[in-house]
Symmetry: C2
Subunit: 362 residues, 2 copies
Amino acid sequence: MKRLRPTSWINNIPAYVPGTSKDTIMKRFGISDPIKLASNENPLGPSPEAIKAIESSKRITHLYPDPDALDLRKAAAAFFGCTPEHIIAGNGSDEIIDFACRAFIEPGDEVIIPETTFSYYRIASLACGAKAVMTDMKDHAIDIDDIEAHLSEKTKAVFIANPNNPTGTCLDSKQILLLADRIPEHVLLVIDEAYAAFVRSQAFKSAVNLVHVHDNIVTIHTLSKSHGLAGLRVGFGIAGSSIMESLYRIKPPFNVNLLALKAGQAALYDLDFLKQTLETTWNGLDYLYAEATRLGLQFVPSQTNFVLINIGTGAEKVYEELLKRGIITRYMASYGLDDYIRVSIGLPSENQAFIKHLEEIL
Amino acid sequence: MKRLRPTSWINNIPAYVPGTSKDTIMKRFGISDPIKLASNENPLGPSPEAIKAIESSKRITHLYPDPDALDLRKAAAAFFGCTPEHIIAGNGSDEIIDFACRAFIEPGDEVIIPETTFSYYRIASLACGAKAVMTDMKDHAIDIDDIEAHLSEKTKAVFIANPNNPTGTCLDSKQILLLADRIPEHVLLVIDEAYAAFVRSQAFKSAVNLVHVHDNIVTIHTLSKSHGLAGLRVGFGIAGSSIMESLYRIKPPFNVNLLALKAGQAALYDLDFLKQTLETTWNGLDYLYAEATRLGLQFVPSQTNFVLINIGTGAEKVYEELLKRGIITRYMASYGLDDYIRVSIGLPSENQAFIKHLEEIL
């Protein structure tokens, strides 16, 4: 008897490993108020304007959301510097990654992904039956030469995150231009700028303007971090008309929920909150750099709201000991970085608690 | 020069046609408060318990939602009568339809879909490169004999909605058992019960229990209608372990947003609201039946919260005239029902306004 079989490639898809939740730690160690520095969430909470928008829309959640997300896209266009026609909104940027894969990848196509980056690029590509071709990192940064070296007749897409998660490094604008020139026009180049708002390097430049020059580039953006809306799932893709048309064909009609539309729109206009977020993040980074140096620990200077710290051979034990004390960071073995933990920037008191416990443990 | 090409099947995907929004009518005709009876939304609003849950969680929307949606799935398990392991939660039931397609369909597979049903089955199937095989209706109901007649070596999935949207008819439990027996075990049978809560027919039975008998059945559920949460996007799939495993491989980590998790959970336990919803719906249906009869109009008796009314050859004009008067219904030409409009059950005053204007127009 023939049995129901899933697609031939489904078992290649690895599971996504999320950051450990506060709930897990509360239950596992009986800790009442753990500090979560594991998922690069905004320590200030959601934008206050977003909270107000939720409040004023909570009674209309029985209505379907605007399938075009027009008001949200207008706000995003103003924020990212393009026109609404070149923006598509998603249920988090994860969904934009899915759209890009589902619109362009056929089973058997190759997708180039740097070895140490956001794991969802590989998951989403494999879910479409692609073969993931992983490229080497160079000093924790994406190596555009190695990407070029792996281009083949079968390459359909290249994914990069700029700045990169989980390493915090970024490619400067010259390198991005070089990469854009080296990727053939028939290969999709996905540039994920989830952390772009946090960049301090003057050499970085958003690739949004490149979508008007290169018909094969889509940039990806999220309100999860800089705008404090990870829980509501608001992401964007920005691209030229022909990519846009294909992404819209894949988009389900009501993919962005109504409170995400309203809160996202409000948050995009709340520049005060963004300013406060950046100050908190940058001060926190500088504090962690100084403290790591004092403790004799190496770290990877970061253009994001997290930092990769080299703890050495005992990294997993240190991570576990921090958990027991209610400090949730991310152990990086699943990214091939056995000696590292990644810590998100928290409130000053949270950063201090992390350092205090880390120092005691070391 | 080779250009970037989307998948070879993407241009087969038709666009989804949503119900006309209140905003559109307000702008188009300058009407301040139109009555929307076009999208089968709950006229009572969201469950009050859901509103409370949104209120109490609005300040934690900077945190990622629980990727396992465990509390929501526990509430759904209690409501639908199964265990949480057999439930997967989605960003609306649309996403569960997508998961089913993406987990099982390879390009070239055939998917059987009744001619007059929810349009998203066809959209989601074509997005995976499937060929959609449409089967005939019999007196506005799904014809299981015609489904059987279209099974082929290439058939990978069969979609039905029970009760069916947009006709409002339902298959009785004997027909469902017959269909389940006739579909080979290697073909996925998707039974969408989006409107099951509204059924008054004693002959109907939910297919949830069948998932433990047939390894190839998945049932689909939503909180959009009966629980008043269309704006928040909460849907479920229920299936045996092997289908579940495949659906979970496709599920993105944070697909159900945090406020949907909280509000959905609260709404599932709010049985008073559900009772009120059903009373409002059933009284509204009986009122519309009586008034349609009085006006000499035929209609399709409905097991849902909407009713298909045969207006005759002038249906499109009547629909347009209703729009101008601020009454939004759905003209059914895109479903091949040129003489029909579909009207959702509203509040008593909304149903009366619809009839008053309809009578004036006719």
